[in-house]
C-alpha cells in the first residue's frame, strides 16, 4: 500500500504566536517499492517530513496515510506504524548504547515479543543484509567497530524490524566514497530483493540519482519539484538557483542541448547518456 500525504501542514510549537510553518500544504503519493530522494536546503523541512511519515509528529492540517493507517489515528497505532516505517536518523551510530552487537539488535525487537529462535534468525538476517558476518560480529562491542561498520549496524537495527518502508535522513553524511557506494548498493538491493520502499534525504543529486528513480525538492516547507530523476534536466535553472547541480551525465546533455544539439536530456545513467551522444553524432 502506498504512502499518501494530502495537504500536510506542520508547525513546531504551533501555539507560539511567532512560530511559522515548517511544512505547508504538501501533497504526494509514494507507491510500494519506490525509491525517492528528497533534496532541499537546511531548514527546508526534509527531516520534519520524515518524522511525520514515521508517526513521530502528527500533521496540524491535512492527513498522511501509511498502509491504511491515517495520521488521525497515529497515537493508538504508533507501534504498528513504526514496524512498517523505519526512520534511520542522521548519524544513527550515535544512538548505539548496548554492550554487544547482538544485544543492540535485540533491544528494538523486545517490543515484538518474539521467541529466541525467531529473534536470532532476524538478527542474523539483518546483519547479513548490511554485509556484517553474524559469527564475526554478534558478540563484538559496538564501540569497537569502525565508523562504517557502526553505520551499517545501526541500519541493521531497523532492518531487523522488517519495515515495508525505510526512511533515511541525510544517511550519506560523514561517509567516505566507498561508504557511500556500499550504502547505495545496500539500498538498491533492499529495494530489488525485498521490494522495500525507500525515501532518502540529502543535498547531492549525483549521489541520490545512483538509486532514486524520483526526486522531490522542498523549499521553505513547500514542495517545489516532484519529478522522475531522469527528467531532472528540465529543472536545471530552478535547481541551479538553489545551489543544486544535476548529475554529471544529465548536465553534459543539458549543455549540449543549450548549444544547439538536438538531444533528449531525459536519461537514467551515464551509459545511457553516452549512447545518446554517440547516436546523435
Amino acid at each position: 500500500m502506498p504512502i499518501k500525504a494530502e495537504n500536510v501542514t506542520y508547525t513546531y510549537q504551533a501555539h507560539e504566536g511567532y512560530a511559522r510553518p515548517t511544512l505547508q500544504e504538501i501533497s504526494f503519493q509514494i507507491d510500494d517499492g519506490e525509491i525517492v530522494g528528497i533534496i532541499g536546503r537546511a531548514g527546508a523541512g526534509k527531516t520534519t517530513l520524515l518524522k511525520l511519515l514515521n508517526g513521530l509528529l502528527k500533521p496540524d492540517a491535512g492527513k498522511i496515510i501509511v498502509d491504511e493507517i491515517e495520521s488521525s489515528a497515529w497515537k493508538k497505532n504508533i507501534q504498528r506504524l513504526i514496524k512498517k516505517v523505519g526512520l534511520v536518523w542522521q548519524f544513527p551510530e550515535q544512538q548505539l548504547f548496548e554492550t554487544s552487537v547482538y544485544k543492540e539488535l535485540a533491544f528494538g525487537l523486545k517490543s515484538q515479543r518474539l521467541d529466541l529462535g525467531e529473534e536470532k534468525k532476524r538478527i542474523k538476517e539483518a546483519l547479513g543484509q548490511v554485509g556484517l558476518d553474524y559469527e564475526q560480529f554478534h558478540d563484538r562491542q559496538p564501540a569497537t567497530l569502525s565508523s562504517g561498520e557502526k553505520r551499517r549496524l545501526s541500519i541493521a537495527c531497523f532492518l531487523a524490524l522488517k519495515p515495508r518502508y525505510l526512511l533515511l535522513d541525510e544517511a550519506l553524511a560523514g561517509l567516505d566514497a566507498s561508504g557511500i557506494n556500499l550504502l547505495m548498493e545496500l539500498l538498491s538491493r533492499l529495494n530489488r530483493q525485498e521490494g522495500m520502499g525507500i525515501i532518502i534525504t540529502g543535498h547531492n543529486l549525483g549521489q541520490l540519482s545512483m538509486v532514486c528513480k524520483r526526486v522531490m525538492l522542498l523549499e521553505e516547507g513547500k514542495l517545489l519539484i516532484d519529478t522522475p530523476t531522469a527528467a531532472l534536466a528540465a529543472y536545471y535553472r530552478q535547481l541551479e538557483e538553489r545551489g543544486f547541480t544535476l548529475p554529471v551525465h544529465q548536465e553534459v546533455l543539458y549543455h549540449l542541448k543549450t548549444r544547439g544539439w538536438d538531444i533528449n536530456t531525459r536519461v537514467n545513467d551515464a551509459k545511457e547518456a553516452v549512447q545518446r551522444i554517440v547516436n546523435s553524432l
Binding site: Y12, E16, I82, Q94, F97, F107, G108, K110, F158
Partner: protein
Amino acid sequence: MTEYISLGQYVPMESFMHRLDPRVKIVSTLMLTIAVVSADSLLKLVLLITVLLVLGALSSIKMAEYWKGITPFVFMILITAIIKLFLVNGTSLVSVWFINITVEGLKSALMLSVRLILIIYAAQILLVTTSIVSLTDGLGMLLKPLELIRFPVHELVMIMTISLRFIPVLLNESQRIRWAQISRGINFQEGPVWERAKTYFAILVPLINASFQKANDLAEVMEARGYTAGKKRNRLNEFSLSRPDYIYLLVITIGLLGMTLNQANPGW
C-alpha cells in the same frame, strides 16, 4: 530548528522589560523574591501578585506562556503544600481517623503555594526577557567586587553561561535520541516498570556520550579562538544604566521597602 524550548528560555522581543539593564533586572528579581518569602500577610502577597502581574504585562509575553512555565512545578508545589497542610498544629478544621487538618495548616499551605508560584513567575520574567549572555554578563558585573578577594568571578560566569547555553541543546539532543530510539522499535510506554527503566539507558548512554563530545568540541573551539581562562577580557557590549532603569529600580525599591517597614497586622 529548535524543537524543544526549555523553561524560561529567552524570548527575543521589544518590550519595556526586555530593554531594562540586566543588572537592574537581576537585583529587582532578588528583591522581589526576598519580599515574597518574607511577606507575612495576605495583603502583602496580593500587592506582590499585582506588582508581578504588571511586570509580566510589561514584558509583552502572554500570561498563558508564563503559566506553561509554572505547570511543570505544580506537582512539586502540591506535594510541599500537602506536607504543610498536615503538619501544622492549631485549630482543627477537619479530622478523619489520624488525619487532622487545621485552619493554620490550610493558611500555611495556601501561602506557601502562592509564594512558590510567585518566585517561579518572577524568575521566569527575568529569564524570558534577558538573553543568557546579558544575564551572565550582568551577574559578572554585579559580582565584580568579589575579585578583590580573589574570587574567580570570570570563571564562575563562564561556567554559568556554558551550562545555561547547554540546557536547551541537551534537551533537544535527548528528544532527538528518544525519537531515534522509538523509530528503531524501542517502546518507552509499555512493559513492567523495571523494563521501562532499563529502556531509558537507550537515551542516557548516547546522551552522556554526546555531552562529552560536545564539551570536548567546545573546549577545542574556545582554545582555537584564543580563549585563556583567568586572562583579563573586555566586553563586546558595555552596559550603562538609563533613565527607565533608574526609575524602575527606584519604584521597586521604594515599594518593597515600604512593604517591609509596614508593620501591619500579620496573618489574614
